[in-house]
Symmetry: D2
Subunit: 362 residues, 4 copies
């Protein structure tokens, strides 16, 4: 609840952009899973600011430290506490946020709800908060390395502004995605997107986009009737990410145009396995994984914090003009990819344990 | 969890399509809220099969009965148990589902997960399950009648197949929506949609669509950082409805094309109240309601059960051809409207109580 | 939470003493467990009023009906809704409770908390509420019949007033306990206790006592660090029963007098199994079951509702004298036995599934 | 769940005796509560090893550090992460625990459940784990300083071995309790108890006892029907503390001997307030606080780790003799007092917020 995600594989995140640090406590993880800082660090590095010229230049090494729950290189089955110290904090760069509300940011709603907010770097609303999610996701990935080693996940940027990648989702290679700073499925096309992001940044503006995620080898049977359908928990997970505005799975919004006879995924047998010839269901039927690829998309709006002048109001209710300083992403998409993956790992890990509770080891 | 929705305003639903009945237990509702069966019945009637010529002809009066939690016409603050008896059950009409998996339905995944399923009318996967949700939503609506009487909600059908309603969301009238069997925002245009649905039905097929929901007068401050953002819980709620494939709020998937400077909602003062000139945020910023209209859309795929012949496999792993009998909706959209509303009421009720817990009465 | 018990094996109870009925929804139960009404009825009969001359004479057949979650005689893995209709309701017998608070009963605190209460028969505070618990417990017992068939549980009355049974806990036979109306471990001694209870009743008074429970064959490893220790959840379960005032496990309150060297349970090997020579731990060490007998005791105060005249106040804040009418137990102990068992089954079932989630099938 | 306590005021603890440190994340705390490290430190100092000659000599300053959730000296309403670094760790002193199971300790059950354990200083089963609880409790105490400033709590040691304090619970002074190393209600009598503990220590043994807790000024209405009764959650909280074996509230185990007419607490009016003349209920009726003093007792067994030789088995299933080295408490009671208080604060805080959610600010 609130800052805890999951029922059995539970991740509690804490921390503000400017403060002692950010971290996560992972509870419910099975014991005897090999785990060390360097299992987590690569994902943090993919999320890290300053990783390329098209993301925020804030300099954070984001080195994680495991404080508990691991002994002799293996998980103990008790809470795993991992944190990252904040280093390159420059609160003075956010001084105007103390008095002004950034349009479409959380400044106003936090103030309205809590009557107080940490205005330095956005406090808890900073994308820095997602470090805890990535920590939790990386540990979940390690867990599946033991429990469902065929499970594979690749998220990538499908769209930035009006540029859309053509590559079919199911064929996208993790290596190709990670070979370019946009995390575009086709490294050659990526140069054009880099240009767009650089232009947007030079204009003091930002741009949105879509992340797509493909999960292969998901065990059959994950997801629970009726409220905790797998796609419902994926939707919640994705819509809990900063700046996300939409979620769709399989045929999604496009599929509404089809007839049932066009949309239904015909079953057939592949040896002893029940398969579907098409995958408009996106790997989930009746809320439960059917063993086909899970494919979904998440829409991210353009980042709210821009350096262009904007009209707004201040905390005293007076009109004001704001030009945000601080260091911001012109496009959150490249860094959203590991966030989407992390949240997906959390959802899968939770449902894997839930299924095992009710059904036993499969 | 699973068949319970909400942390403080908690609805547990139970029941299969064919069996003793379906119902809900609502726990956590404040006491002293006036409540009687006829507060719930109108919403059940809007969800009911047989309500018009474009929905399934199954004849269910769906008369609800309150079994507990109400005394002298008011809630007690203890669990409210409400149920509806199943009447027009015809299990024999589903006999082929005993042995065959309907393409894109939950037959296969339930069998794969549980090793058993109630194949009569879809059992727990039937839309009949949503009766419990509507019960919970109607009681939440009554609660808000006392606690936030300015709160108003109108859901309607935005799209069926390729036909899209032009009416701007914020001006849609509940009365107009309820004046036509499609629940279309413009009653005059609805005739065309009725024709489409009838044609689809006559072809033994089905068609999808989009429901849009507008919530006015939502208290400021609902939603919690970081996982339980209001839009995240709305997304989960909607994606837990049968046949839903997508969710978007505010600018949604379209907004990704915009620049931040185009997308941001400029703040201004309306008297002492902070307002936004546009509402691309959809009434939620940083996961917390800002007092503007909450506007979101839900994509529903075409109903999986159709009477056209389809290729599939049976439970023994042999190829088969299925022509579904039974009584089915050619288009779930008209009946999805009260379901979307019900789930929205549940989300708001839960977050209202959660906000009150942490912040006190506002 | 509140009216739901358990995280994975979840029982939600509902219903008041006077109203439509009482029942439970059991969610999370594994599928394919054989289940029918007559698996539940015997435990309800043990809890039932009017079962002997020493309990309340209210006439309730307490026939249960399964409304959902079972198909072809087996559980579906979806919510199991079971209820019992209220029949012998005599609200007029409770008329004085409408205006007066029974000393040491929940009348005043419910009124103070909720501002409303169902004064007929105690409403939700009636022991009748425990029907839902017994339903949930009986289903859990059936589950263990499949999953851990060596698990056995026997609760019995250890003490009534100042009369204490001498039988050692571990040797008590279920058959002997059920052979006498007190549920005393030694049927011969029971006559004296019956006399005491009858004398107390004839005086318009009530008397308390202690229930002891022995669980044999509990799987090793149930219980979780650190808050959800097995004994912590047993304590909560027992202290949630009406009229309970104390809980102790193993050496309990007596053990505080001992030295560590006297109290510690020495380990030894019995073949390949680690055993303890004594069992002052009561079957739980560090919050986790160790395979020895789980032994605990629950203190029940004398029933608050008595027909002797008592001084009290009325709802308007005036002094009053109350002689309770209605039908009440002079001693809740005989009927508390199946309640204690039911709550124990719930705790074990929940922890069994939790352990299986984290550790896999053992 | 597991390492998280509470539904609305939620404390997640982490950490092992030997490792990076121990800490807690507190989620759900209202914003704008003044909070600094020195609000927490005094309670940690009361829990700290080495605080007096009768507790374990391990040298830990236990200086806490707030890492998040506080800004400008006030809580933000977001997660408060607080930790304490481990300093005086001497893993080599526990080398024999790597291979041997301490009788009546958690060594065996952790190994049996998880297949792995941190044997250094007991790992997660160390009393060091309670640091996180004390952190959470101290923050809750600060919260009540704002929200219910009349609330007062005093826990003290009622019994050590066979020595029992005579002071009536309701008159015990916090200052007197804290004036002696035993936390005995009568400082003069304490010398005798110190002698007992010192003798026990010199014998390489340990001794148990009872902590009693009195809560004055508790708001009326805390606690929820039916499973989350206030006494049920207090019982769970106390029974989750290391070494606790029993819990009783009000008349507890003694009260079972009484007749209802002797036990019932007669109501009377004190001005406009409903009071009871006696308090055998212990401040809770029907699971809900009635405004009288909440009084309960917790039994703690003698500490399992003793330096006297004991027979046991090793991890390979061979008989062994163990003389524990390491630094241990001969009597956990003095340090249990702040633990009991901390858990009580957590229960009250959670129920306060739950009551406010359902009932609004009172």
């Amino acid at each position: 609840m609130a800052n805890t995600f999951g029922h059995l594989y539970r991740v509690t995140t804490w921390g503000e952009s400017h403060g002692g640090g950010v971290g996560a406590v992972v509870d419910g993880c099975p014991p005897q899973i090999p785990l060390a800082e360097n299992d987590i660090q690569p994902d943090l590095d993919r999320r890290r600011p300053g990783q390329s010229k098209i993301v925020t230049p804030r300099k954070e090494a984001d080195r994680c430290e495991i404080l508990s729950g691991v002994f002799g290189g293996k998980t103990l089955g008790t809470p795993i506490s991992v944190w990252v110290r904040n280093e390159d904090a420059r609160p003075e760069a956010y001084r105007e946020m103390e008095t002004m509300y950034r349009p479409s940011h959380a400044d106003y709603t936090y103030q309205a709800k809590f009557g107080i907010r940490n205005w330095q770097g956005g406090g808890r609303t900073s994308a820095r908060e997602t470090i805890g999610r990535v920590i939790g996701g990386s540990i979940a990935k390690k867990m599946f390395g033991q429990l469902a080693p065929k499970l594979r996940m690749t998220a990538f940027v499908r769209q930035v502004g009006t540029i859309t990648a053509r590559a079919p989702a199911v064929g996208v290679s993790y290596r190709e995605v990670e070979s370019n700073p946009v995390r575009w499925p086709d490294a050659k096309e990526a140069a054009e997107v880099v240009k767009l992001i650089e232009r947007v940044r030079s204009e003091g503006d930002s741009v949105g986009g879509i992340v797509e995620c493909v999960i292969k080898g998901c065990p059959i049977g994950l997801g629970e009737p009726v409220f905790d359908r797998l796609e419902a928990d994926l939707a919640k997970a994705m819509m809990s990410l900063p700046a996300s505005k939409g979620f769709e799975i399989g045929s999604g919004f496009f599929g509404v145009r089809l007839r049932g006879s066009e949309h239904n995924d015909e079953f057939y047998m592949e040896g002893k396995r029940v398969r579907t010839r098409t995958n408009r269901s996106g790997g989930v039927q009746g809320g439960i994984s059917n063993g086909e690829d899970i494919v979904f998309r998440v829409a991210f709006k353009p980042v709210a914090t821009i350096s262009k002048a904007q009209k707004t109001v201040d905390v005293k209710g007076k009109s004001a003009e704001l030009k945000a300083r601080g260091r911001h992403d012109p496009c959150v998409l490249p860094r959203a990819v590991p966030m989407v993956e992390a949240m997906s790992w959390l959802v899968l890990a939770d449902h894997y344990l839930r299924d095992r509770a009710q059904m036993g080891s499969r």
